[in-house]
């Protein structure tokens, strides 16, 4: 028998990231430098055939901007340019909105800088009928679905035309017509709801699948487990995406258990198909989403996808990332920038060039500014006009009960 010392505890372990402010960024633990290409099983394979992929990394775009390997979705240059356009649109929008928050035009904002491929590629790979249950960092889905930028801004400005009537923090969009669910401020709650939605679709024999997104930190919530359990038990046509951007707010993925296993590997224990994907690779995200959607549509159940990426800016307008991670960390991120990578690929294909890129950037800047002007004319949180005050008391119930009527009267509105 092994000799085991009877007491060698010096306290429990509290994992720390490789680098804190002042340290040199270090992503070696992620083992992202694997050069062998991940295989691509049939989407209607047994879940167990995907387990190797939980510790691998689905990539299409190599470091030279070439698309290769079995996961190459073989998209037309037109679709690729569309992807680039949408990612750049998302980024331009984010940058402007962030600034406007700083100028007091809205109460709050959250960017998706560096993570644009995750939402845009998924949004493009899915069908319009497919339902989306996002977190607060997939605004790219809205652009991919063609949502109106002015309406998005109306929401963020909490103005009189905010479709959410000023009731939600900025970036907590809802867009029923776009099959985009109401974003919650409570982490993870949407994950099991998405499974319920998917089951309802399946019960009517519809072909739509449902996709949901949560962050690495949020995987720790009980609702993550609830969702995986439901998805497994009922073989629901759902795509459960974990966006591993390495950080929650100030705590790194290791505080969610990410040091000891990949998040994709969580799927193995439920018998779910699992993929670990280069989240900064537009083509890989597109292909993985398509694969999972095909699987779900074919009645083969759910897929858990971990997209490996990096949150390149602050968590939200409320925080300063330089207080908990090295300033240089974003630049050192080994999977690069999703826009730069797709751009390089298009250029390598001869389907894009720097001039067109610059022109696109300028056009988008103008579009965002013009939209903002329009939205601002509908009001801002600071200066109004806002939604009518009596609407505060509406939509609590289908019909206003006596006590809310009284309260409205109490307020004198």
């Amino acid at each position: 028998m092994t000799h085991v010392p009877s007491s060698n505890m010096s306290g429990f372990a509290v994992p720390e990231p490789n680098a804190r402010p002042g340290d040199t960024p270090d992503f070696s633990h992620l083992k992202l430098d694997q050069n062998n290409l991940a295989p691509k099983p049939d989407p209607i394979c047994e879940a167990s055939e995907t387990y190797g992929l939980a510790n691998s990394l689905v990539r299409v775009l190599d470091d030279e901007g070439q698309a290769q390997g079995p996961w190459n979705p073989q998209l037309s240059p037109k679709v690729l340019r569309e992807g680039l356009h949408l990612m750049l649109k998302t980024r331009t929008y984010d940058a402007r909105m962030f600034k406007l928050q700083r100028q007091g035009k809205m109460s709050f904002y959250m960017k998706s800088l560096g993570e644009e491929a995750i939402s845009v590629a998924a949004g493009m790979a899915l069908r319009d009928e497919d339902m989306l249950f996002p977190s607060y960092r997939q605004q790219g889905l809205l652009f991919a679905r063609g949502h109106d930028m002015v309406e998005m801004m109306n929401h963020c400005l909490s103005n009189a035309k905010d479709p959410l009537k000023g009731r939600q923090l900025p970036v907590h969009y809802t867009w029923a017509k776009g099959n985009f669910f109401s974003i919650s401020g409570n982490l993870g709650t949407q994950f099991p709801q998405a499974v319920g939605w998917a089951m309802a679709s399946a019960s009517r024999a519809e072909s739509a699948v449902t996709a949901s997104w949560i962050g690495d930190g949020t995987t720790a919530e009980g609702d993550f487990h609830g969702a995986c359990t439901l998805a497994s038990v009922y073989k629901a046509p759902v795509i459960l995406n974990v966006v591993n951007n390495q950080w929650a707010i100030s705590s790194f993925a290791g505080i969610a258990g990410g040091n000891n296993a990949t998040f994709a590997a969580r799927g193995i224990g439920y018998g779910l198909a699992t993929l670990r994907v280069d989240g900064n690779d537009f083509l890989a995200v597109y292909a993985a989403t398509q694969w999972a959607a095909d699987r779900g549509r074919a009645g083969h159940g759910a897929t858990l996808i971990e997209t490996v990426t990096y949150r390149a800016d602050a968590h939200s307008t409320s925080d300063d990332p330089h207080r908990y991670r090295p300033k240089e960390e974003a630049a050192a991120w080994p999977l690069g920038d999703p826009i730069e990578r797709l751009k390089a690929h298009l250029i390598a294909l001869g389907e894009w060039d720097d001039d067109r890129h610059q022109a696109l950037e300028e056009a988008l800047t103008k579009e965002v500014l013009a939209s903002y002007k329009k939205a601002e004319s509908n009001g801002t949180l600071r200066d109004g006009p806002l939604s009518p005050i009596p609407s505060m008391f509406e939509d609590v119930f289908a019909e206003q009960p006596w006590h809310l009527r009284r309260q409205r009267q109490d307020l004198g509105v």
Binding site: F133, A176, P192, Q193, G196, A200, D223, V396, H403
Partner: protein, 337 residues
């Protein structure tokens, strides 16, 4: 008309709903093949198939969340939480999600669904099979909270709940499942067969939510309760010969303040009763509103007869349960005050 137990009435409500409306489905722990640990969904999986009536994993948060997703996507789920004591893992999905979806989405999404759960004591279930947690839920904007007192109401209210466009939390007093219970544990158990509200029509009917029922008219004082305590109040008044007016709230939120105020303004005296712990129990809300709306009519303080501020005791169940003796004393004190 058939006599039914409250279990049969609940079952019949499901049957009617499942039959009439494709969108209705029903699930919960042990609720599928087995038909629920109390039998409320018995026979329905066989009749309507596995995707209409089915078992759920033991995860109350996931049960609520699944129901939300389904309801938002056009179904009309009726989910069972096996015991009200076990609803708390799902509390976040109820407080933060279910009851806010209509509001926060500006009406773009709604989640019309019913959560059913057996509540209350009187079956020696100890602290984890006896709770009456309704008060927690009455503090959540956007949730209808209801509790029937008879088989007739159980069926009619459950149908109304499922047809409502609001989420409804539907508590079923498990001590009433098989018969009315007047709070005296030493009497032989009564059955619904001998109770007029045990008569339950086979088909579709509704008992409207939000409307209390005056179950006894009187002039000396008003007693307000719901669920098991209504039976206790009726028998207490009868035995003590007190001219009490007794209101069965039926829907706890939104409560029927009109009926309450009319009665209290008439009698000038009031006692509220519930099985749940006293502090911040729903009695507090009723009293706060009654003293606001009926202050000048009140001739005595409104008394509360409630469970204690302790977990539901197992061995001393009958010292915990707010039975006839305690209610009678409170009624007499209120009359004499």
């Amino acid at each position: 008309m058939a006599r039914m137990t409250m279990i049969q009435a609940v079952n019949s409500a499901h049957d009617v709903l499942l039959e009439r409306d494709d969108r209705v489905c029903s699930f919960g722990e042990d609720a599928g093949y087995f038909g629920g640990v109390f039998g409320c969904t018995q026979g329905l999986q066989e009749k309507y198939g596995k995707t209409r009536v089915f078992d759920a994993p033991i995860n109350e948060a996931a049960i609520v969340a699944m129901a939300i997703g389904m309801a938002a996507n056009g179904l009309r789920p009726i989910a069972e939480i096996q015991f009200a004591d076990y609803i708390f893992p799902g509390f976040d999905q109820i407080v933060s999600e279910l009851t806010r979806i209509r509001y926060r989405s500006g009406g773009q999404f709604t989640a019309p669904l019913v959560l059913r759960s057996p509540c209350g004591g009187g079956i020696y279930g100890g602290q984890t099979h006896s709770m009456s947690p309704e008060a927690f839920f009455t503090h959540i904007p956007g949730l209808v909270v209801a509790m029937p007192t008879t088989p007739y109401d159980a069926k009619g209210m459950l149908i109304a709940a499922s047809e409502s466009d609001d989420p409804v939390l539907f508590f079923e007093p498990k001590r009433l499942y098989n018969g009315p219970f007047d709070g005296d544990p030493h009497k032989p158990a009564l059955s619904w067969a001998s109770h007029e509200k045990g008569e339950v029509p086979e088909g579709h009917y509704t008992v409207p939510l939000g409307k209390a029922e005056m179950v006894r008219e009187g002039n000396a004082l008003t007693v307000i309760g719901y669920g098991t305590m209504v039976h206790v109040a009726l028998e207490t008044a009868r035995l003590a010969g007190i001219d009490a007016e007794i209101i069965d709230l039926r829907t706890i939120v939104p409560y029927d303040m009109e009926t309450i105020a009319r009665s209290v303004n008439k009698t000038g005296r009031c006692v509220v009763v519930h099985e749940a712990p006293r502090t911040s129990g729903f009695g507090a809300e009723l009293i706060a509103q009654i003293q606001e709306d009926c202050f000048y009519a009140l001739e005595a303080p409104v008394k509360r007869v409630t469970g204690w501020d302790t977990p539901y005791h197992h061995a001393h169940e009958w010292s915990y349960f707010p039975g006839q003796a305690r209610l009678k004393r409170a009624m007499l004190e209120t009359l004499e005050a």
